[in-house]
Structures are given as C-alpha cells and as structure tokens.
Point group: C2
Chain length 410, copies 2
C-alpha cells in the first residue's frame, strides 16, 4: 500500500452530490490492513432496485455467487463491501461467511438478507472471518450519512493508489437525476465482464428489468474495454442501484425514449470510472487507447485490440517511450483473427508508421519518438478488410508492476 501514487491520478476531484435514498458509512474492521478503513456499508431506502454484471471467471468469489443469486430478485436495501480479503476459493467456509456477513447487516439495518448485496476484494484463498463485521455493522448503521463519497471510495481500495469516483446529472422534464459511482481496481484487471468492483447509485425511478437491460452495453464500452494485465479477477462486480427518489414518472418500459438518455449518462459515469481504473493500473505511467478498424467484425476487432493491449512487449515498449511499431505487427499477427499483412496500416497518434504491409514512406522516427513521451497515447490499427471496429484501453508495463506484484501478499 506504500506504492507511489500513479502519475495519472486526478489533480482534483468532483464534488459528488448526494443521491436521495442512499446513505453510507465506512469503518476499520481490521481484516488485513491496519490504520485504514476496509469496510463500506451502504443502506438504501425501500423501493431501491438493482442491476449488475459479475465476473465470468469459473472460480468466482463467494460474494459473487451471493450476488448472482440475489440479482434475479432485482431489489436491494443494503451493500456491504470489504477490502483486504476476496473471500474467493474459500469453499463452504466462504459460503458460510457470506451468510454470516449478511446476517449482521440484516440485524443492523432491519432488512431482509435477500435484499443485501456483498462484495469482497483482496487476497484469494484465505477464509474471511465474518466475525470481524459483528459489532462493526451495527456501529456503522448508527452513523449512516449521504456523504462524503470519497470515504466510500477509499474504504474499498486495495493496491489502488487513489480513490475513484465519477458523477453525472441528467434532467427529465426538468427533474434532475443524479448518477454517482465509485470503483476500485488496479491489478488483475482484464474484466471481459466488469471491473474489480464498482458501485453506482442513482435516484432515477427505473425498473430493475430496464436497468439490467441497459447496463450490459454500457459495461461493454467501459469496464469490458480495459485491461491492465490480462488477468481477470475472481471478484469482478459492477452493481447499479436505483432508489427511485427522483420525482418523475417512473421508467418501466425498455422502449421509453428516456432509457437511451439515462443509459448514456450512466455510460459516461462507468466510462470515467473505467478510465480511472486504467490510470491507476499497477505501475502505470501512461494511458493507451488502442483502436482497431477495418476488421472483419467488431468481435474480431476486439480480439485484435486486446492482443495489442495485453502484449507485454507492446506495453514495455510504451513504458520505454519507444515507437516500436514492429511489436504491434507481432500482436496483430498472433491474435488468430483474419488479417492480411499487406493491407495493414498502423498509426501512433497522427503519425502513420506503416501502411500496405511495410513502413510508411512518411515515417518520421524523431517525430514519433517525441510523441511517445506523452502521458496519453493513441495506437490505431486499420486492417483494411471490413468495417469491424473496437477500442480497448490499457496502460504501460513498468518496473512498478513488478514491484507491486512481486510481494503483494507479504
């Protein structure tokens, strides 16, 4: 936890407005860390609905299993999140731990366990002692408040070097609707489904079914489009809670024209949280946007973009500020997707490096090298085969990643 703060950290944070019907508290439960908060309790008013996207890992955490069972109900009254222990690969003990944790929350808030959601992040394989929450949940229940959001974002951090928050407001017939979210994630980020953990709250009156339906496409453009290290977490969880407190006609039909407007605003919040996650990628010093065009399909474009974004050789070249575009060729070539070497074009920013299968006549090594010194870089690949496109966001691979992960547990 003593790693240097990412150079890509925000220089200032937005003031997050309260979301009616949402109150929270954080505490030090002493799960693993000392002298820092490691548990977040969120209480939501009756009538709150929930939608979510969970990890596709075949080894999901007990908390993910717990949420998957309860998402079908679509109702939520509470969320308990801890950092320091992922409660993953903990077998029957893990299952019992989720039940016990929820029981503490149910008792503290007087809500049903079927409307309680859980998330855990941290070390995999160590049993999570739910007794750590015993007095803590009741104590937190006594001081729930609608702010400050930064405290919530800090309590769920693991190797994150800064808290991650984002907010958006959208108006429907003059009624403002707030969407505010937090996220954590730094390593083991290749979501292919969600991020490590992200929780978004809105006062929009929207049905669980409509919310669930609009969520996945927004996830695909945000948390599903980022990768730090190609390693998918066992705990990835993105939950969106809607309290329905905004005084507008409820949205209960997916064909309602307001759905697209709300989805876009939610997408903005998710995208911003995803960008902060990449900018806090373990050891990251650069944000890299990889855009693939001209593929035979969007799916093929995504696979090629991921192949580039996950390549250790591409990522180390970027860390070294080396315009080594030959490694982009390599990453396209290894992706296993349709590609014709002799139609391939590659650009870094506005600099065209290669086209029609060889170095571009206009290639300017000095100018491209100067471009590589930027903190935010764009890599463009055009396959010249079709109309498939995709964008994937990643960071560079530096000594910092090795430092952080060479001794994370100890």
């Amino acid at each position: 936890m003593a790693h240097p703060v990412s150079p890509l950290a925000p220089t200032e944070y937005p003031e997050l407005p309260e979301v009616a019907g949402v109150r929270f508290a954080t505490a030090e439960a002493g799960i693993k860390y000392k002298n820092r908060t490691d548990v977040l309790l969120v209480a939501m008013d009756p009538g709150t609905v929930v939608a979510g996207v969970l990890t596709r890992s075949k080894c999901p955490s007990a908390a993910v299993d717990w949420c998957r069972e309860r998402l079908a109900g679509g109702k939520a009254r509470a969320l308990l999140v801890n950092s320091g222990n992922a409660n993953a690969f903990t077998g029957q003990k893990g299952k019992a731990s989720t039940a016990a944790s929820a029981a503490f929350v149910a008792e503290a808030l007087g809500v049903s366990a079927s409307e309680i959601f859980l998330a855990s992040t941290g070390v995999i394989g160590e049993p999570l002692d739910a007794q750590k929450f015993a007095g803590v949940t009741r104590e937190m229940a006594g001081r729930l408040a609608p702010a400050p959001w930064m405290d919530a974002a800090k309590a769920i951090m693991t190797t994150d070097t800064f808290p991650k928050v984002a907010t958006a407001t959208v108006e429907f017939d003059g009624v403002p609707v707030t969407i505010s979210g937090i996220a954590k994630g730094s390593g083991m980020i290749a979501p292919d489904m969600a991020t490590m953990l992200s929780f978004v709250f809105t006062d929009a009156p929207i049905s669980a079914a409509v919310l669930q339906g609009l969520l996945q496409p927004q996830i695909d453009k945000s948390f599903n489009a980022i990768t730090v290290d190609s390693d998918t977490s066992t705990s990835d969880t993105c939950l969106v809670f809607a309290t329905g407190k905004a005084t507008m006609t409820p949205i209960s039909d997916a064909a309602d024209p307001r759905v697209a407007v709300f989805a876009e605003a939610l997408g903005d919040v998710l995208h911003e949280l995803a960008m902060w996650t990449i900018k806090d990628g373990e050891g990251a010093t650069k944000l890299v946007t990889v855009t693939v065009t001209g593929a035979t399909s969007d799916k093929s474009a995504t696979r090629i973009a991921q192949s580039i974004a996950n390549s250790p050789l591409v990522k180390t070249a970027i860390a070294g500020e080396d315009a080594n575009w030959g490694r982009i060729v390599m990453a396209v070539g290894k992706a296993g997707e349709p590609a014709d070497r002799d139609k391939l074009a590659i650009r870094f920013g506005e600099f065209v490096l290669a086209q029609q299968g060889e170095r571009a006549p206009s290639y300017d090594e000095a100018a491209t090298s100067a471009y590589m010194k930027n903190q935010e870089l764009e890599i463009g690949v055009d396959l010249g085969l079709g109309s498939g496109t995709a964008t994937v966001y990643t960071c560079d691979l530096t000594h910092g990643y090795i430092d952080i992960n060479g001794n994370y547990r100890s």
Copy 2:
C-alpha cells in the same frame, strides 16, 4: 546485448559431434550489431531432405514465406540465417530481399535457389539490405567446416544471453545416427507452433515426408509447450535437415519401427533446446513447469496451463518467491475452459495448497515459501473433471524483462 547472463544458463556445454554432410561458417555482416557474428551459412550435401514447422502468425516474415514455399519440395542444400533484422513487415522490399539473399547463396555454393532456406531474426519493420550478404556468402563458402557448433549458435542470437545447443545419438543396427541442433530465442516467445529459430541437423537417411510427419508431435511437446511472454513471433521457424549420410537402410515408410525411436531422440533434442530457450527467457530467474491434469480434454488442459503460464500476476509472484496460489485460482478461472471451483486442487512441488475448492488442511505457509526459493519450480493443477493433461513451461516475470524490453530497439 549487455544484459546479464541468465542465472539459469548452462554451466557447461556438451561437445557436439559432427554431422556428416553438414558444414557451416559464421561471419560479421554488420546488419545491426557491431563486433559480433550475425550471419550463419550452412551447406548440406546433395540428397539432404528437410521438414519444418513455421509460425502461425498472420504477419509472418518474408523469410518464413520463403521457407513455406520451399518446404513442399522437401530438398535442401543450404541455410542462411541472420540476426539483427527480422525482415518482417517489409512488404515487397522484404520479398526482394529474400530473393537477393538466396541468389548470393546460390552463387557462392552453386546450388539451386529452390533448395535454399532462409531465416531472419531481430527488429521488425526495417528493410533488410541483402547487399550486406554480397561478399560475405562467398567468403563464408570458402571456409565451411563441420564445427564448432557453438559459433553457429552464437551467430543467431539476439537478446539471448547464452548460445543454445543440444545433441543426441541413436543407433540402428549398430549404425550411429547423430542429431544436433541449435536454437535462439529469449523474448517474443509463445510459440504455439515452433520457437523463434531452431535448426536441427541429422545424418539419418530418412525421407522428407516421414520427417515432416514425425516432427509436429515433437514440436508440440517442446517448442509449442513453452512461453516467456505470450507474444508469438513473426519469425518462428524450426527446420530439421537430414543428410542421409549414416550407412543404414533408409527410412522411407512412416510405419517403419525405427521412426518412433528416431522421433524420440529428435524430441529429446528439441525439448532440450526449448528448455534452454525458457531458461534464457528475458529476465528469467526461475524455470516453472505447469502441469494440468483432470481437464475435460488435452486441449482444455493446454489452454488452462497456458493461462497460468502467461499470467503476469502468477509470474511476478514467482519472481517474488511468493507462494501466492490464489493467483493460480484466478488464472484457472479466467481461462474460459470447463472448471469446477469446488473440485480444484493445486500443488507447488509436493506441497498441496488447495483441494476441493479451498485451502488444504495440510497447507504449510513456511514450507511452501521455502520451496519457492528453488530455481526450478513445479505447479500442479488438477481439475477433477476428466483425463485431459498438458504441461507448459514458463519463466518468471522480473525487472530484467522490463529492462530488456523498455529500450530494445535503441
């Protein structure tokens, strides 16, 4: 090239016997490096046959294209290999460069271009000036000799920190047959087909068709079972040349019982070369053998083993000598292959860490941590689902990898 020699380098090299019908020479062509050999010319007597496995990259080098066209002929008289430039993604210039290079060899040795094989390794995207070989091939042709093999292995190195050679001898009815090979490779190693470059020579009298038929299964157990960084090269080439000089009845039928014996000996040489490649993985300090059992199929087992072997989080934990088996759980979970968390067992060496979906009762942190200090480690994963098995070899991910790849071109 000034990177420290791998701690896993051999402490001594075998004496490689001559292979009748094979002569070679190395030279300094000044392609990229200074004060070191960077070109290898091998001349083989009439009657030599060849088999090979080439990269499946969609962006193969011009030399790979050249070899693919000529392998069908099955005959070989010469091999020209250069380091410093991969002649990959060089378009029509690259194609012209291969033709010109072969023409120099044809002229120097008086052989047909259809029987000349080429391989190039080094930077991608820079045109390879064939004129560098102009006087060099003729000069080398004047001093061809059947030894020393170490010179040949050295001339093809790029970021390798030590030359790689292996040899085996097998007898058929009292007639000794020699199999000797060299390889290069250190980064951009995830062959899924071959290695960067490997050339094996034998005096066995064997038909090209039989040789080609027996080669792929041996590649699958050696070069196809290693990964340094999941990055597949554009130049991967493994060629096996057989001069037929050994005075035994030729092998021309795949059903000949001697095929299995020869294949095993060839497999031993390829496996040893593959292990040296991993031991010289960029920045490697540990050799890791990942064995997956109990998968639903061998293919599924291979994918899970690769997911573990390619995981940056697994590899950094190993570098940090941390028995962080939770990351193995993660890598199994992300592989996308059938897995049941609650049947999973994990061991490091003889230490069972996890079974039936949770930490093993016998888990001993201190003993396991002590085990992690070994230079060669074994990770075992049993899925408990079927009889599929696979073994993949990898190395750790260290600061050395970042050092080497953060400024490779410059």
